[in-house]
Structure formats: C-alpha cells, structure tokens
C-alpha cells in the first residue's frame, strides 16, 4: 500500500513547474557515492488486507493472561467506553502541539481541564500537560531541584520503583549529581532516622513514593518536615495513580513536587507504553517546571480562550538554557486521563475503595497458604509484599495456567528473598482469587 496521491501526470506537471527532468535531480545535493540503490532487509510491500493478516498473526503470537496479579508500576484497570470514543476523535489524535491556539481550542481547553484535575488530585496548585512517564517525571523533578538549588546530592528512597531510580541514576550520572539511596524500615516505610542522617546542606531533593513500590503508604508529612528543615525539597511520587482518589495527596502533606505514572487513568497497559508522566508542583515553581502549560486568556472580544503559555521555559525559545529538553510529550494520554477522571468523578474514591477490598481479600487468601508471611506491617493501597517458600515455583505454576503471579522482588532487592509483590485491582474477581490459592497449594 502506498499513501501518495500522485498520479504520473501530477508528477510530470510538478517536475516541469520545478524545472527538473526527473525525480533524481531533486536529490542532486546527495553526493553520488552516498546514493542508496535499495533499502536492505525489508520485506516487500503488503496490501491493506495482507497488512491486517500479518499484524493479526503477530498479535496472536502474544498470549493474553487469564488475569494478572502484577502491578509494580503498570496497572490493569477498567477503562470506561467513553475514553476510547473521545481519544478516537480524529480532530484530537491527528493534530500536533497546539501552537496555533485559535484552531486548537478543543485540545487546549481539554488540557487546561486536565491540569486543573491533576492539581486538585495531587493537592498542588499547578500541573503540566505531561512528561514521558512516571520515571522521567520524577527524574526531571529531581534534576530541577538540583538546578534551582545548585546542590548536587539527591536522596532517593529504596522503596521508590527500581526502574525510576535507574532512570534517575542515568540522568544524574550524566550531570555529575550523586544519588544516595535511603533504606526502608521493617514497616516498609522509609527509615526516618536514616533520612535525618543523610540530610545535609548539599541535599537538593528527597525522593519518595506513596504508595511506594511495596504498596506501602508513606508518612509524607514527616518526610516533608525533615527535608524542609534541611533546606531540601520533597519530590513525592506514587505508584498507582488511582490511589490519589482516596489517599491524602502529597501536595497537602507538604511535598514540593508530586510526580508519577498516570497510566492508570484510562490508558491501556500497552506492554509498557505510551503512558504519561504526571508532573504537579507548588505555584512558586511555575516558571521553572518542564513541559507544556496551557493557560487561560482572552481574545480581542474578551471571550475566554486558551493558549500554550510560559513558553520561555521551553527549549524552542531558551535552547540550552531551557528548564528541560522535552518537546513532544504524551498529550493524547493526558487527554485520556482527563476524560477518565471526568467520567469517574467522585467515583474515583469508590474505585479506590474497591481496590482496597480486593487487596485485603487476596492478601488474606494467600496468607492461608503454608509458609506465607507478610513482609511489612504498614498500611497498603492495592499492592502488598508476601514471602513464601518458593517464589519462582509459585509464579511458574500460575504461568502454566495462564495467570500472571506476583512480581519477584529479589532481582531488585537481594535481601527480599522469595518475596512477591502482589496487586489486586477491580479487574480481578473473588472467583479468580479463590482459584489462585487452589493452584498454588
């Protein structure tokens, strides 16, 4: 299939208008020796029908699990039908960044609404219109703290998602910042004493997640106090963003930045992407934060309208002095998140409660199994850690019947041998959970 509308006639006429005898003349600037005859290693073209069958075969090579008990940064939630119908509106998805406000009011308003919802959810005053994912959101917040303060030390709780910390390391290494990792205590929360000891006047930011990677809810306000006393800023993340529907927002507990993965808000699992980074902050950082910001303004007749604003923060104006290099972001995922939140409204709390009920049930169920124990004691949202006689074997058994078990923590936390991180959302039924224990035992 070929998507060029050019007929032979068109091409002739256009060549004449340009004054070239053939297409190749248009590529005269490419030195002869570098001209390519033919792209290697690409299968020949397909008709539309062939394309569909080739791609369907490939999709079928994947195996969709019966159900899954792994969250660990990506969560299986029900997506109301309206979300797909709205993000499927071609006026939205076939547009690009709304540089030209007058013909982009739809997207601009939708994003302004998204920013407002996120600010309210996170207990902050402002939010941008998305970073790449939770990891880059947290990382850019940390980098920003360092840039603003001129300090070079960043404290990250070990209970922050391992991959987020790896991304943080990658960015910090390139910038010569040092990352100090902070232990968790037996409850699963961060060790406040360890924090006190690590905090010195070189610390730009403290990074925590609540719920953290273990599903544990952190005591953000204590962390915030400790950090602020030492002039450090607090970057608070979260794992499953649906937790924002019921947990006290980090913003309200004193965090300077609230960042995290927004996938749970109306975006499919998609094998890891596209997702969206939620980035919210205190108002005072408005002119420093990375990413797009939509602002309300007026037209010549005083009618309300929306535009991209404070662009002097951005690379296309500030170049090497920009607060970030981000340009394309995850706008459509943010739109989905906005529609999702508008669809649920206050029901987001009900959803969070349901997740908690399911989680409790699964935990109790699994604890009935011989040799299974709780690893941590602090309260959790929809994930929890249990240790068992043989984690690998458990997952193997479940896999054989098409069920995804828990996340094996040992690879990231050597000290947590045979410990599994389980997740239960509204997508798992009582019946599913009852089956699980049958299969494992």
């Amino acid at each position: 299939m070929d998507y060029c509308p050019h007929t032979q006639d068109d091409i002739k006429q256009m060549q004449a208008a340009i004054g070239v005898a053939g297409i190749d003349e248009l590529f005269a600037d490419i030195p002869q020796k570098f001209r390519l005859k033919q792209i290697p290693d690409i299968p020949s073209a397909l008709s539309e029908q062939e394309t569909v069958s080739v791609m369907s075969d490939l999709a079928r090579k994947n195996r969709l699990p019966r159900f899954s008990m792994t969250g660990a940064g990506a969560y299986h939630h029900f997506i109301p039908a309206v979300v797909g119908h709205i993000v499927g509106r071609t006026e939205f998805y076939s547009a690009y960044t709304p540089y030209q406000a007058e013909i982009s009011q739809g997207l601009l308003q939708a994003i302004y609404e998204y920013q407002t919802m996120i600010a309210r959810l996170t207990g902050t005053e402002i939010a941008n219109a998305s970073m790449y994912d939770g990891a880059s959101a947290m990382t850019e917040a940390a980098i920003l703290c360092a840039k603003m303060s001129g300090k070079t030390k960043i404290i990250a709780a070990r209970s922050v998602h391992p991959e987020y910390r790896q991304v943080l390391q990658t960015y910090c290494r390139a910038n010569g910042y040092t990352v100090v990792e902070l232990a968790y205590d037996p409850s699963g929360q961060i060790d406040l004493n360890a924090l006190q000891n690590e905090l010195d006047d070189q610390v730009a930011a403290v990074l925590v997640q609540s719920p953290n990677f273990f599903g544990i809810i952190e005591d953000i306000s204590s962390v915030a106090d400790a950090a602020h006393k030492k002039g450090a800023l607090l970057v608070a993340g979260f794992t499953d963003s649906t937790s924002l529907g019921i947990l006290r927002p980090a913003g309200a507990a004193g965090a300077d930045f609230v960042v995290g993965e927004g996938q749970s808000f109306g975006n499919p699992l998609n094998y890891g992407g596209p997702y969206l980074g939620i980035f919210a902050a205190r108002e005072k950082f408005m002119r420093r934060i990375p990413g797009r910001l939509v602002g309300a303004t007026e037209d010549k007749l005083g009618r309300r309208g929306f535009v991209l604003t404070l662009q002097t923060r951005e690379q296309h104006i500030r170049r090497e002095k920009a607060t970030s290099n981000i340009c394309s972001n995850e706008a459509l995922c943010a739109l989905a998140a906005g529609v999702y939140l508008a669809a649920l409204g206050k029901n987001l709390r009900k959803l969070a409660e349901l997740n908690i009920y399911k989680t409790q049930y699964l935990k109790n169920k699994l604890l009935e199994l011989a040799g299974w124990r709780e690893v941590f004691s602090a309260p959790v949202y929809n994930e929890f850690v249990l240790s068992c006689p043989d984690a690998k074997k458990v997952n193997e058994k479940l896999k054989n019947v098409g069920i995804i078990g828990g996340y094996e923590l040992q690879k990231d936390y050597p000290e947590l041998k045979n410990s599994l991180l389980f997740c239960a959302t509204e997508m798992i039924s009582k019946n599913d959970m009852d089956i699980v224990t049958e299969i494992i035992k």
Binding site: S47, N62, R63, D219, G272, Y381
Partner: protein, 480 residues
C-alpha cells in the same frame, strides 16, 4: 465553551463502580484516617454531558484529517487508518510490561524486527526503541557519546550545534552537562566549514547535525564535515527528525554519522496525538553499541527475551520499553510500504516541497534559493517592510483560508520565518489551492493589511492575548 467543571453537578457520574464481590472493610481502620483525603474535587457529569463536552471540544480542533497541515519540521503526513486498527488489537494493547517473555513473543519479535528494519534503512549497527520522543532520543544519544569518551578516559566538554538547529539539540546537550558552542551557517545555508574547523578541537565531543537541516537543505559537504569531526576524534550526531527527506535515498550510517535519533511519529507516520505520544529510537555505529540503554532485546533461536547484561550501558532512560504501541503503528507502516514505498514517500515529499517553493518564490522572500529537500523556508521580511504585516499575521490569515499555518519564526536564523513541509501525502490539487491562498494573502498584505492583521475571523475565538496569559498565568481553574 463551558469548562467541564462549570457543567458539573453533585450526584452525577458518567460511569459506575461495581459492587464489591469480596468483604467490605472499614477503610479508616485499615489505612488510618491521617493517610486519607477528605475531599475529592473532580467534575461530576453524566455520560451524555461528557460525550457532548469532549465531542464539541474536538470540533474546535484542527487535525491533518480535516485539511492541509504544513507544519514545518513536524512531518504532518496523513496517518493510515489501518495502522490504528491493528495497533488496537487486544494482543498488542493488553499485555503488562512485566509478563514473562513467553506471553509476549509477538511483541518482542515486532520490536526486534523493527530494530533490524531501522538498521537497514539508516545504515546503523544497532537501534534502541526506548526513547519516548525525539528529544528523549537526543538525550540518550548524547549520553552515549559522553560514555564513549569516559570509556576512553577522555573528558570532552563541548558539543557543536549549528545556529539553525532545533531547540531540543542544545537543550538535550545541556541536560547532559555539555557546553554548547554555536556553529555558523554559511551563505548557502550549510555548515560554515571554516568556522567548523576553527571550533573543532580535542575538547569537542561531537557535532550535532541535522541533515537536511531545518532550512530543508542537504549538507553538500557532509563528507568533509564528517572528516573534520572524525579527524579530531569527535563523533557526528545526526538529528533524524528530517528523515522523511532521505529515507530510501541515502543512509546516515553511510554519510558518516555515528549516532542518530529518529522521530517515528514523523517519518513513520504515527498520529501526533495533539503533541504526543511520539517515539525517538536511537541508532548507533558499532563503536557505540555497548553503551545502548538497557534492557536490550536478544534473540536465541526463535526465542526473544530482554537482557540487562550489558556492563557498559548508559543505563535505563525510561521505565519499561518505550512507547510500544506507537512502535506497532510505525512497524505496520514499514511493512505495508516496503522498501519501494518508503523510497517513493521520500521522493514525493521532496517533490511537493520543491513545487511549493517554486510556486511561492515570486511572492515571498526565499533566503536560500536552491533545491530543497522535504521542506522549504520562506521569510516574511518583505511583507513586514512593505506593509507591516508579520509572519504571525500571515499564519493567522491562513487559518481563515482553511489551512493549518506552517511553522513560524523557526529556524531562528531566518527572520520572520515560514517553514512549509507539505509531506508526500498531499496532492497537487491541495498544494495548488494552498499556494493560491498564500498568494492571495501576499496580495491582501498589500491591499488590506489590517484585514490580515485581524485574522483569524472564522474561528471560535479571535486572536488570543498571549501576553496576558504569561503575565497573569491562569493554568488551573479556580471556582469563582
């Protein structure tokens, strides 16, 4: 239009939550009051309200499916619908990133083959698909460059960037701790070789070159440029955002580039989504392979899996594996076009750009009058000088004619720049009517400049006050 908050009413909801099939517990006890929020200030609307709100919003937005969208440097080509359909197959959308590889062989094969295809198209040794966008790819590439020199025990501080380059180039370099030095363009719009020689020292890690550059001009001296960089042990970075200009006609790898990033959402036709998601794969030469981010995909027999066992990697640049579902669409695009189709896309893209250039040349200043590649850049200087009509005015007036304006005021080296990238999916008829509109506006600028300055008039709002927006920022709605 009213805001979703303004049509909200307590008690309404557009979806509902299932009754619990497991015992209901007391949340206050289970979690502790101090950890719980007491308000949740989200809109409350019925499904009908929600659908009408967002559907009507969509009708106030312009996309390439509605009309011509020659936004330079952004490659707003038409994106085939079949790609949307296959990418929406449950097999592709339904998998958790942490499922055992046995569940994801289809996805893994797709990623593996996509990397292979890109290597073939661009002549690189290996690709990573992890970066989420072009700028993310730039950062990844620059990090690899940094690591490359560290490995050699060298510390090079500088990256050279042409004055015409896209803002993300210097921004990415800075975000990686490099010092940016600006390289002048010559009178032909190419690299000023002498200036390059004078800047190129042992302290320069790389030259970040966009070829064709943001003027849409191919670097004729590319061989010499590469030579100069390489002679000093430097690396040549290629910003591949303009790959739609050469895919199938030449290969960065053959031209001497050591690293390039692509913008799949541009060249490989995935919908831009109103600003994203995109995807910014990075390709490298043999010399840089070891530094690629992890995880990397490995094939053993017919089996695919992820591996992190690459000691020299720069590490991880994103959670999971990148914008997978975007990659599915780009992969589909490559499969349906095949080698010949990709080449034809490039040829038609360049044909279209040159056609527009020739047709509009008499009416707008063309700072660099030579054959262009996939886009051409005009200057509104004449209109400013003669009629006080600025490029913004021309852009806004185009809206009234039913077109999305070109990219304006970029590249920075062209005053009052108008950067037109038609892409290959536009027909001669479309280009002709667009050119006629541009010509008509040139006339209007003379005969009725105020009319142009008051554009647009056909939109739900007229020109918006951006100064007010920046002076009194309102980025979060507050109940009056």
């Amino acid at each position: 239009m009213e805001l979703i908050f303004e049509i909200s009413k307590p008690g309404r909801s557009a979806t509902d939550i299932s009754k619990s099939d497991v015992p209901v517990i007391n949340i206050d006890d289970a979690i502790g009051k101090k950890y719980l929020r007491n308000e949740l200030d989200l809109p409350e609307v019925a499904e009908i309200d929600l659908i009408r709100h967002y559907t009507n919003l969509s009708r106030r937005n312009f996309g390439v499916d509605l009309g011509f969208y020659p936004l330079g440097s952004c490659t707003m080509k038409y994106n085939p619908k079949v790609n949307e359909n296959v990418a929406a197959l449950p097999g592709f959308t339904g998998l958790h990133p942490y499922v055992d590889a046995d569940f994801a062989q289809g996805n893994l094969q797709l990623i593996y083959e996509m990397q292979k295809y890109l290597c073939g198209i661009f002549g690189m040794a290996e690709f990573t698909l992890q970066p989420a966008a072009g700028a993310h790819g730039e950062l990844t590439g620059v990090m690899m460059i940094k690591k490359y020199f560290e490995k050699k025990g060298l510390k090079r501080r500088v990256i050279l960037i042409p004055d015409a380059a896209h803002g993300t180039n210097p921004a990415s370099s800075a975000l990686c701790g490099f010092e940016v030095m600006e390289l002048r363009s010559n009178s032909e719009g190419g690299v000023d070789i002498e200036h390059l020689k004078s800047l190129m020292t042992e302290d320069v890690a790389a030259l970040m070159l966009t070829n064709p550059n943001t003027l849409g001009l191919f670097e004729r001296n590319i061989e010499q440029v590469a030579q100069i960089i390489h002679d000093q042990g430097g690396l040549l970075y290629g910003d591949g955002a303009n790959a739609n200009a050469f895919m199938g006609k030449t290969r960065p790898g053959d031209l001497g580039f050591d690293v390039i990033q692509l913008n799949l959402h541009k060249t490989f036709s995935t919908p831009h989504g109103g600003g994203g998601p995109g995807s910014g794969p990075v390709g490298v030469s043999k010399a840089l392979m070891d530094f690629l981010p992890v995880p990397r995909i490995v094939k053993t027999g017919d089996n695919y899996s992820w591996s992190e066992k690459f000691p020299d990697t720069i590490g991880r640049v994103r959670s999971f594996y990148g914008n997978f579902n975007v990659i599915v669409k780009a992969y589909t695009y490559i499969r349906s076009l095949g080698a010949e189709g990709l080449k034809r896309a490039t040829e038609m893209a360049v044909l279209n750009a040159n056609y527009v250039k020739e047709r509009l040349k008499p009416y707008y200043d063309l700072p660099y009058d030579r054959g262009c590649m996939h886009e051409c850049v005009f200057s509104g200087k004449r209109q400013v000088a003669e009629n006080g009509v600025h490029t913004t005015d021309i852009a806004k007036r185009l809206i009234d004619y039913g077109y999305h304006p070109p990219t304006i005021y970029f590249p920075l080296i062209v005053p009052e720049a108008m950067m037109v990238e038609p892409t290959e999916t536009e027909s001669k008829e479309t280009l002709d009517t667009f050119c006629e509109a541009m010509i008509a506006i040139a006339r209007e600028a003379k005969e009725n400049p105020d009319g142009v300055k008051n554009a647009p008039q056909t939109t739900p709002v007229t020109r918006l006050d951006e100064v007010l927006a920046a002076r009194k920022p309102d980025v979060c709605w507050k109940k009056p």
